[in-house]
């Protein structure tokens, strides 16, 4: 067992490797990377600049290079791949499965893309890649690979095995052989386990499993993920509108989709645009954060104007200004709680959706419970600390109203966003939170205005 644990990137090895690159000690580079998993080499190259990485690349075999390219982050890859000629890129793509090849080609400028395709040695792969490039990258058609094992219904098991042997080099991971009818429509599958256990002379028609779950090319990645997760699948066949088998999506690609969705959602909730990471440049990080901070600032300026409108009230009612933070923070917290509950239930999609009305009714019920409890607590606290009964009533009533309002807004916003095809997680982000803050502030001052005018 050579690599029981992950390849350990020690500080010592890194220093030694850096030295080897400086001294152009090719032998050390080649020997030290011999047999190392490409995913680990990728992590290593991450510590070097593109020039140095290119140097290492040129010393490795094209199939290892291909695997490294697939592993690279998209933005790093875009810069890196620009260093290679079209012929070099074609030699890497020749070693990849079609879906990875298509991803790489999509990152190239149009002219270079055409050149690479022209240089591909494997013509079938070129055709496959061209077909895959037609699909959006986040639907089943864009996620699938053209490499899979297909068997005719009238074959016997021996013919399946022959087909596996023929395709073994092209299809890295085989879980099942997909069975098609005369029109090439997906009819079922035979798992490798079944093939091993079956007699070689058995007919595919007699051993295949006709209960097979497939997706059509246009299904969104998120839904493919839900489906594979629900049915515990390691691969799912993709069919076109006529039921013809056109590709296969494997679980490793879907795990990446799930991770990306979670990261995107976190970024939206935190108010960070585009997918920056902590190790990006200072300027990239600043740029990704600034738009949302500016939205928050504009909100703050509007809040200042709303407060200014009520400046007379603030002067008259001693203590009114003191509870601005409390009202705003509670509104924000309630809003985020509500929207993230909706986002979660949208993400898991239960079979039957509750009607909008019953959903809102429940939300308002929860808000009433929480609003009443918080209202009573804050009433008591203000009386205790500030000994001011009218102020305590104002804060309590305003708080109750804000909890109700923020619950309503926090529930309805993600539902509306989702309806219009926008990621509902945006509703937990700074844009909506800012809007909620302003509403809360306006409610607070209005309640005070009314209560004190009457009382």
């Amino acid at each position: 067992m050579e690599t029981l644990k992950e390849f350990e990137l020690s500080k010592e090895f890194l220093d030694r490797f850096r030295l080897a690159l400086e001294e152009k000690d090719d032998e050390f580079v080649i020997n030290s990377l011999e047999g190392v998993n490409p995913a680990d080499i990728t992590a290593l190259l991450f510590e070097f600049n593109t020039e140095e990485s290119k140097y290492v690349f040129d010393l490795l075999e094209p199939d290892v290079d291909a695997d490294i390219l697939i592993e690279l982050d998209e933005d790093i890859r875009e810069d890196f791949i620009a260093k290679f000629t079209s012929t070099e890129i074609a030699s890497f793509v020749d070693e990849m499965e079609s879906d990875d090849g298509a991803d790489i080609l999509m990152q190239l400028p149009l002219k270079k893309r055409e050149e690479v395709i022209a240089h591909l040695e494997n013509e079938e792969k070129a055709t496959h890649i061209l077909e895959l490039m037609r699909y959006d990258e986040d639907v089943a058609g864009g996620l699938m690979a053209k490499e899979f094992i297909k068997a005719q219904m009238n074959w016997n098991v021996r013919q399946c095995i022959e087909q596996i042997r023929k395709q073994a080099e092209n299809v890295e991971k085989i879980f099942s052989v997909y069975v098609v009818d005369e029109q090439d429509r997906l009819a079922g599958k035979v798992s490798l386990k079944q093939i091993i256990l079956a007699n070689d002379d058995m007919k595919v028609a007699d051993v295949f499993d006709d209960e097979i779950i497939a997706v059509e090319t246009y299904v969104e990645g998120r839904d493919v993920a839900l489906m594979m997760q629900k049915y515990d699948l390691e691969a799912i066949p993709v069919v076109n509108a006529r039921g013809k088998l056109v590709g296969r999506i494997t679980i490793d690609d879907i795990v990446d989709v799930i991770t990306e969705i979670a990261e995107e959602e976190r970024a939206l909730m935190a108010g960070i645009s585009s997918d920056v990471e902590e190790d990006d440049s200072v300027w990239a990080l600043s740029k990704a954060r600034l738009p949302w901070l500016i939205i928050g600032m504009v909100g703050g300026l509007i809040a200042a104007q709303i407060t200014d409108l009520f400046s007379a009230d603030i002067r008259i009612i001693a203590g009114l200004a003191l509870f601005i933070p409390l009202i705003m923070a509670t509104g924000g917290n309630v809003g985020i709680q509500s929207s993230s509950l909706v986002v979660q239930s949208l993400a898991t999609k239960s079979a039957f959706e509750d009607s909008m009305t019953s959903r809102l009714l429940k939300v308002l019920l929860v808000a009433t419970v929480n609003g009443v409890i918080l209202g009573i607590m804050v009433f008591g606290a203000v009386i205790l600390i500030f000994r001011d009964q009218p102020l305590a009533s104002t804060v309590a009533i305003a708080l109750f109203s804000v909890v109700l309002l923020a619950s309503f807004m926090g529930t309805i916003t993600p539902l509306l966003l989702d309806k219009f095809g926008v990621n509902p997680a945006l509703a937990s982000g700074p844009f909506i939170t800012t809007a909620n803050d302003l509403l809360g502030l306006a409610v607070y001052f209005s309640v005070a205005h009314v209560l004190y005018s009457l009382g």
Copy 2:
């Protein structure tokens, strides 16, 4: 192809099914669920109460019941399973793989757990389950199943196939045969593809792949997920401290781990305790949200007292109160941005960690860029709108300081939490946000106090 798409739960079918339950039309229930994927039956039962579900359960075969139990949400399952006798539960567990069986048993009260184990027909499974129950549920040992195919190094391929045949019923999904040496230590694997392509008389020692990635029993689920994702694995063998092969984790369980981690993180960020969902009871939802709202409220009350401390300043400096929302909102936004960047990079774990100093230096640099830009903008805006230069300076300087401070706090908090074994996502939640709010407020008033006393 019977189930090309998911089993569609139509409103009509649901109504018909409900009627069948009322009329005890067992035939309809049995026929309509014949051949339906247990995951779909689970979704259907979700629409019925435990009594009704139990009724359906009693009509289905134990192996289908077992699959449904595995699919159920843990909290629903806990209530549901209480309806069954120990013998019934044992008959379901007998149909499960050991990891699922152990999960179910862990949910039972101790006495019932012992009874179920005593009633298990499959003694080997009982031993396996008892072994698995020793592990925490979120480490490799708790995630693994005891069902896998093991071959001796000195076997030939035919013997592997024999072993697969023998175990076929116990091991639902087979991807590889794991190869062990005489001491039962993991030495490598042979994929099913290799077995199909190899000659039956070939020695395992000659065909097996000795570059195999394994995890030890104590490795955390989160790290197993990262590893399987990095190396695109569909299964990973688990070894004990002596390298002995003790179990196997499949990707479907890891996909669940990944999803749970993301959900937990979202709940922490949104300030919702425990894992509630939109369809839980009003009281459960209120209870899950209340603690965080109360923390926010207490923060708001402290904010009121801080503001009260500076009430003389507020009276003297016209307009000081107006910008309380702006300062607090910006502090909150910056803090969440910073912490979620850290959380993200902790989740993906690059090979080399930057030192704390260089990390903070970079964070402060980004904060300076953003703080200067925001400061200048707000200075201009306040001059324009309120025509008050000292106030504009105060707000701008305070805003700049708050951006710096919130960045610092937002970065250091998740790092510290992580160091002490607490989920760092908590740093983006209401507790830390509230603390940041208070700090920001204090900074704002202090800046004003100093600036106006001096100017």
